[in-house]
Subunit: 246 residues, 2 copies
DNA sequence: CGGTCCGTTGAGAGTGATCAACGTTAGTGG
DNA sequence: CCACTAACGTTGATCACTCTCAACGGACCG
């Protein structure tokens, strides 16, 4: 089975040469068990990770043990990049489900910068996209009610899973505990429960053990505080490399 | 006066060639009046901005008009990068004080990727650093009390201003309204007022019209939920371009 | 001198937190 | 297949941090 490269091609379709480089990464895959730690905060940064299958999370710890989940990673995502700027890893990466990952050592990343302008710009824009996602998450947590937050999160997840080809009939795998969702959205698990329950009772979503169905996408979107961002796609690459400015 | 290039050199000291490129940007400076909009959300993305002097902000708007401030930009910062990944600008850039900025068109950015590996990696790591800052902000808003948030923000500002050489005797310019701080930290201006007032009454900070003094840095840091991240500096560049992995 | 923006303060309300208990599910080992 | 256990989901009662609404004072600016 072909690894999910859709995230690499989202800003620039890949050449054969690029595909070769990226393909090399997939060579040595590792399988991490559910709930195991891929890299802990504070550990040395020897590279980044490519998530081939399964779900994972990035989170940061506060002094007193409180945890903020920063991102839910889905198949195709790159993980651990922010820590490249730090002296030691600044985020903890964990497998939410059993997960297949590839380790990409620093040196391999360096080679990309030297060898492929296309991939370099792709990685650069991909990082900017993650930044947009973080800005979005911040605006959810900073300004919206629990119901708006949960709705927005579910729809975002839905869109991303769809892009990865993991949605079927508005139905998808949903392995997140309510505790986890709380740590992601800045709520307690108790309140996440009440909110999900309310969405369920209203007929917007249907929860069945480990699965989630968006019963009423439009109704759910109406609860959402903002429209999802529209990404540049190929034009992002063109803007930077074809000098459209005059 | 030399423009503040410290943010460019933080991950890799610049060669003459690099300095030339970066210097070119400073050629056409523009002065934006206080409270004026540099680029509004939804407008086309024709380039990014370099903040030479003054303060600016990035913010995102919600449907109903609520606003989340995402970042306070200080002299030396690059602004508008996340929108490179979007079809239209996803953040509004505004001048908080009178501000001197340089416009960097997309084509100029493209040239960097083609001409300077050093600057490319520098920009890349700089972006990762911004991501770390966002993760930090998210963890503040998601998990901490008003007092912790405000303390952490003030100290972060202090550190960044210090890096830009804008602190004197633990004293610095502070042109932010309480409304603005509220929109940044997910609080109302009323509550920001009470929190600042309390910090002032406790003797941790001293506010004098437009200025802020950190009276008790250690006391303030004790209120903070997490330690500030340690950045990689030059080693970040080395990791990626000297292939230290074996 | 008047207007507007900003900071300040008070009273009251509410969303979401906390605490606590119980039910349910899944995983484990006999 | 069942007993046992731990993790997770559910629910209720109570609490409190922060919001909302409202008013007033001061500073700055035209």
């Amino acid at each position: 089975m072909q690894p999910p490269f859709h995230r690499f091609a989202e800003f620039a379709s890949l050449t054969c040469h690029d595909l070769e480089i990226v393909g090399d990464w997939s060579a040595n895959q590792r399988i991490m068990a559910r709930n195991s730690t891929i890299r802990r905060e504070g550990e040395p940064v020897t590279g980044v990770f490519f998530l081939v299958a399964g779900w994972a999370s990035s989170s940061v710890m506060l002094r007193d043990g409180r945890r903020q989940v920063v991102k839910v990673h889905l198949p195709g995502d790159l993980m651990g990049f922010p820590s490249l700027a730090l002296a030691a890893a600044g985020e903890t990466l964990e497998a939410i489900t059993d997960a297949t990952i590839c380790f990409i050592p620093n040196a391999s990343l360096g080679k990309i910068f030297e060898q492929s302008l296309r991939l370099t710009v792709g990685l650069f824009l991909s990082t900017q996209k993650e930044r947009v996602a973080l800005m979005q998450g911040l605006s959810w947590v900073g300004t919206t009610s629990a119901q708006e937050r949960v709705s927005a999160f579910i729809l975002d997840l839905y869109d991303r899973l769809d892009a990865a080809g993991l949605v079927k009939d508005q139905n998808f795998n949903f392995p997140l505990t309510q505790q986890f969702i709380g740590e992601l959205l800045g709520l307690t698990s108790v309140h996440v429960n009440r909110t999900l329950r309310r969405l369920d009772a209203t007929g917007l979503i249907v929860r069945t053990r480990g699965q989630l169905r968006i019963a009423d996408p439009d109704g759910l979107r109406a609860l959402t505080p903002q429209q999802p961002p529209k990404f540049a796609g190929e034009t992002g690459w063109l803007r930077l490399c074809r000098g459209t400015a005059d």
